[in-house]
Symmetry: D4
Subunit: 214 residues, 8 copies
């Protein structure tokens, strides 16, 4: 065996171990899924290549492939909704969509109401201001942005709810694969913004889900 | 005038603008405090030097100086408690205490129940494991650590509640003023850990407070 | 002699060489000033310590010391106004004021109409939006901001005029002495924002002045 | 829909949103172009792969592909010239040509007179000095250079007009993908040089165009 | 000849020069192997591509290919066991397995008893604590971990024996190809942890082997 | 109380918690020393300022101050020698002496035979080669070097015993406070060299001591 | 035309412009070669891909392809030897050979006597010491090394002649594509070592050639 | 004794070990000087504080203090001139003078003819071009520059002799203590420029001296 699945986690954390697909072979993913599925769990695989996903789907035909999010899900039992409110995912530009999608898939697998507001980058701030109602009705906000990563500061200054910022690797040159956005978010002048790793839509969703849990 | 106080913030965010003391003269701090105090607000000043604090206290004798946290507070009206539960601050080593103290002062000014568990670094993990009861009873956890910043991963793997990690600049050599701890926390293998800026106990407390609010 | 003054510059660039005070002794500054003054020039010294400035003022009693901007000026003849319009300097927070002040002193020495809008950081965006009239009436805009440096993106998305962004070293931890703000500005999603060195209010003013010249 | 086009921008900024081709599928580019074209706009797509460009051209046969600049343009109405003078693009070496070309295409789409001086790097400075007449006749200068990025300092010392520096990723080893050139330009000893992101010929052209506008 | 084999090393260091496969052609590897084999040595090649390995195996049919470790070994004489005890290799996640495997192959070629404990990352610390017996029975421990690299601190706090930490390039975003794990390990609060280069399972094994030698 | 002393460590690790003096007040150091001393332990304090050391010595008059090593020791019972052989500390230049001294003090407090070879930097390699006998008689070697940090590679190529490299912050400019030496050591072409943090003579000594223990 | 060949350089520098092949198409290389060849020059192209080289050779059949050095040369007239002595190229490991080869081809095209000593890395220092005669007979030395880049320090401490250090990108992990070697060389404790860019065998050869010229 | 002076060096390298003053006490400097003086050597101490220099001068009254260069010299016998020609030191700005001065003192102690051209930075290139005669008459050139470090490229393109570039730590913000200048020089488009460490006027002079030696 090449993995020691942390079956205990479902108990401790309320959801079984999520499979990190990057760097695993289709065979490895399948074996871990089988081990988790045998216990009746719902399963989430993130950062999977399309080619591997299709291979894995042959073993688990009822699994669903989310191309935009690069996630594979297997729902063996209905997902129980159990949040205090809605988690809103905002994204700045077209290229930030895959990271936002990973967050959305994860949020739903973890039992949250989730919605999405996209293409609301700060260079055309009227687009964001026009949707203040949606901002104000969310319980938790995940803000996904690349380049200079300024969106969480503006959002964090408008709302009173927890804001989780996700820098993306979108950009070129001095964006340094997301470092510019990451640093911007860590230095946000809007107090109380917290940050996750570059492109880590999954981690932001897990954090939001814990916040949203009664 | 040298500052345009954001009086609107109390309405939007539930607490008036907090004064960032670093780089301001005692006179500047006093003028901003006066402007906020005139509206009957409770006031928090962070990152203040002892010398400046003492000067400011002459103008506001009822202000309280928190030497360990380098914060000055002025309570003009009783602080209303209004969280869902307790916010627990954990710190790894003796040198991380000032950052933890800044978080604690902020948490209390913002109306939270807050408690502290200190000197529970991962190199002597029995100290942490012995206090699992305290961990499990918190609603939100703030984990403060310097050097390799490993504590949030261990805590995040044990509890089911939101964990906010605060890297500190404690260390030398390749700790690079907190970069090692910051990177460790951003790459935490415990899903759902979120991170704030190096030494930013204040920001972690604001985030925890928003999470803890009904 | 320890400097070879570029007297030719007044002809080529429309203003004589500006003296970079940092790292020069009061004696060195005085000798260069004397050489420039002998030709009837107006003189600007930037990045000067207060102590050196006072020493130099003994030799040039009519020189003026701008404490906030850390600049010394000597006006030997009236400054001729010769711009196409107004240069507006915006600054995000209280701590960015010295850099903004350096830009303002430089702009005026170079013959520009200049005005200032301060404390309009993005975390309280209503403060900026409330002054849209001032933004729209400027011919060139200099935007000074530290921390995440998001202000130029918002301003650049609102106005149609050239925007020059000045990152400042204000912040701590992952602001890395202004790197976070610098990278944010270089990656601005508002097209056409250009950037100068960290804390370089002087350089931004020279650029704005060249743009503002008929 | 996967993009929320900022149609408002044409009004605010004088030219509709430019499409950032990198990381978008041919289908996405087409849909955004269709949305912009429907309003009768002239359209510019930057950073497009040749393969995608050819696919898009099937939907928009009158679009023009600029291979050297990796840009696609669609002119639906004549471009009105409206600058104060000429924008001159200088490039240092053969490998900097694509970035210069992107600047030139953008300048022309935005209604500027534009010309080009190439292969005038500082290691053979007589090539630049021989063309001083061209330098002096420009209203705005864009200087494109990789490796040590020294050209803007030399040009900025010769002319009295605004100089925008564009670092390129040309080089190897310690050029670090353009960081060396970027830092060189930010530290230019020629006062008033402003800088854009590595390889951002587009951004430099937008800035120059705003400067050149009456 | 394109290499000057250090035949002297077997005498000085107790094992002949190990061949670093990366960046060598199959032909180069073969020629160096032939030169070493002619002296009757056992041979180890690390960091070899599968394709090259297969080519080399045609010349040395009795060589063994370790796919997981990307190592090729040739045993021409029995390996004499000569350590003071067991070397234990621990790895944190599934993706750290190749580096652990490289360490294991190297340890065995150098005559050590070696065993492996895998998937014992700190986010599920019960998995590690459950195997304390195995930890305590080792003479030397090699701890392989990517992402935040926290495992060596926890292990180093539990055992009294030498711990060698190996950061891996596993992770994404702010893991920066292993820098986060490397810095974490260099700053370990567990005193006495020493560190080798990112992904250098080989080097850790050589160090452990020297420690384990009587 | 501001510290939770890990009294358990003496049992687990064979020596009680060592006090990290940096960033602690004299009072804090005294209180922790008192708590350790009460159990009859020998005590080591590292990275202490001279001023604080003298203050602490008033409370513990029999404590010994090692000025070169910036360490304070308190021997309450005789130190038992219990190593397999000698630990040799080599240092490259005059300025590396304090780090070597910290290693030597620590080694002796932990019960090791220790000796020192100094000023044997690689630019005058005859100095090192002339002492090969000393090199060959050591059981473990600690190699302390700043600037380019090349000494461990040369030593590691000569001896068959474990080599622990300690980069120092000695140097200027591109030594970047020890980064150049650290990187050099991590990339040592002498297999089996392990590395500790910059200036961490203490950590190297603890590691050597564990290796040297039967 | 896409290049402005600096024909003047042959006069100023004693050898015509060398063509930097990277990032140029075969057609661009051909056109520049034709322009240089028309003046009867000997021609050197560096950093050329094998595929492009073969294409170019069809236009210039008498050109010679140096596969190891990735250089193409065209000798139209005999190369006149004109140095003060021999230039010795030393390389540390097998993987440094291409950079050494680039230096050797360049040295010979520029009219120098050149020889090569390879595989003399510092981890087996007897290999270098055994060839002291060769070291002492050189007029200029080029030392090529990757990983920790220690060889120039050892060589620079032995000889009295100019030493030019060339860091290579050989290595992995914390070698950071040659940064470790570059920093090591810049901080060499052997006074008078000068350094060129990572992998820049060409530049080192040009420098050596100028030194070697009467 | 705290230093093992490399007396052998005078034989190997033609000048005795130069004393690196930084981080040494006045007492340490004195003891090493005494040891060198006893053999009749001329002595050079670099990077010495004024205070220490004055203390040392009491023991060696005939030593000479070069305040601008921060060097102390002791001439016990006449310095024999023995170069092939003149070494020319160029410096860009007023603040680069101390580094240039260190190079000049070192050059003269090592027996070279040396001269100086200052304040010839590239932003006023006519100042440099006006002195072409001086440039062309030098045998070796040392070019000292901070900020963007462009001067060596321009000089290297004009002359045919060896050029050694010395980056200085002059500047602020994104000059990063000399990194910008260092990178600029390593990437110089003028072939054959070699580079030494930031602020290392001493090292450049030693290299130039070896080049200038018959
Ligand atoms: N996209 C992701 N980013 C970061 N961590 C993840 C991601 N997906 C899964 N994980 C974590 O990776 C762990 C499993 O890692 P592994 O044992 O390598 O499969 C799980 O516990 C998850 O918490
Ligand atoms: N605050 C400043 N930041 C950057 N450059 C400056 C500043 N003040 C003056 N300068 C430039 O520094 C040059 C003079 O440098 P120096 O010869 O060292 O006095 C002038 O030509 C100015 O362009
Ligand atoms: N080459 C470019 N570099 C930087 N920004 C660009 C470039 N081309 C277009 N843009 C900007 O990218 C924005 C559109 O981004 P998106 O919504 O992802 O298509 C436009 O508003 C442009 O200002
Ligand atoms: N300014 C300097 N920069 C770099 N190296 C120096 C300098 N001055 C002296 N050195 C070198 O430092 C060595 C002596 O170092 P140390 O043994 O610490 O005194 C000598 O061999 C010199 O080569
Ligand atoms: Mg968009
Ligand atoms: Mg403790
Ligand atoms: Mg404010
Ligand atoms: Mg060219
Ligand atoms: Mg796992
Ligand atoms: Mg010495
Ligand atoms: Mg070899
Ligand atoms: Mg000057």
């Amino acid at each position: 065996g090449d993995a020691l699945v942390d079956h205990h986690r479902g108990l401790r954390q309320g959801f079984p171990e999520v499979i990190f697909g990057a760097g695993k072979s289709a065979g490895q993913v399948e074996r871990i899924m089988a081990s988790l599925a045998a216990k009746g769990n719902n399963i989430l695989v993130t950062r999977l290549d399309e080619a591997k996903a299709l291979a894995v789907k042959e073993a688990f035909p009822s699994a669903m492939w989310h191309a935009d999010a690069r996630c594979l899900t297997l729902e063996q039992r209905p997902i129980e909704k159990r949040g205090l409110g809605t988690v809103l995912v905002l994204s700045a530009g077209t290229s930030d969509l895959p990271v936002a999608a990973e967050a959305l898939v994860t949020l739903r697998m973890l039992g949250n109401e989730a919605s999405h507001l996209y293409d609301v980058g700060v260079a055309g701030i009227h687009r964001l201001l026009a949707r203040r109602d949606v901002l104000f009705s969310a319980r938790v906000l995940i803000v996904v942005a690349g380049m200079e990563g300024a969106l969480p500061s503006v959002v964090g200054g408008l709302v009173d709810r927890p804001v989780i910022a996700v820098p993306t690797s979108v950009g070129y040159g001095a964006s340094f694969g997301g470092i510019a956005a990451l640093l911007g978010m860590l230095n946000s002048c809007a107090a109380g913004v917290t940050v996750v790793n570059i492109d880590n839509g999954f981690g932001a969703a897990v954090a939001a889900s814990k916040i949203n849990r009664e």
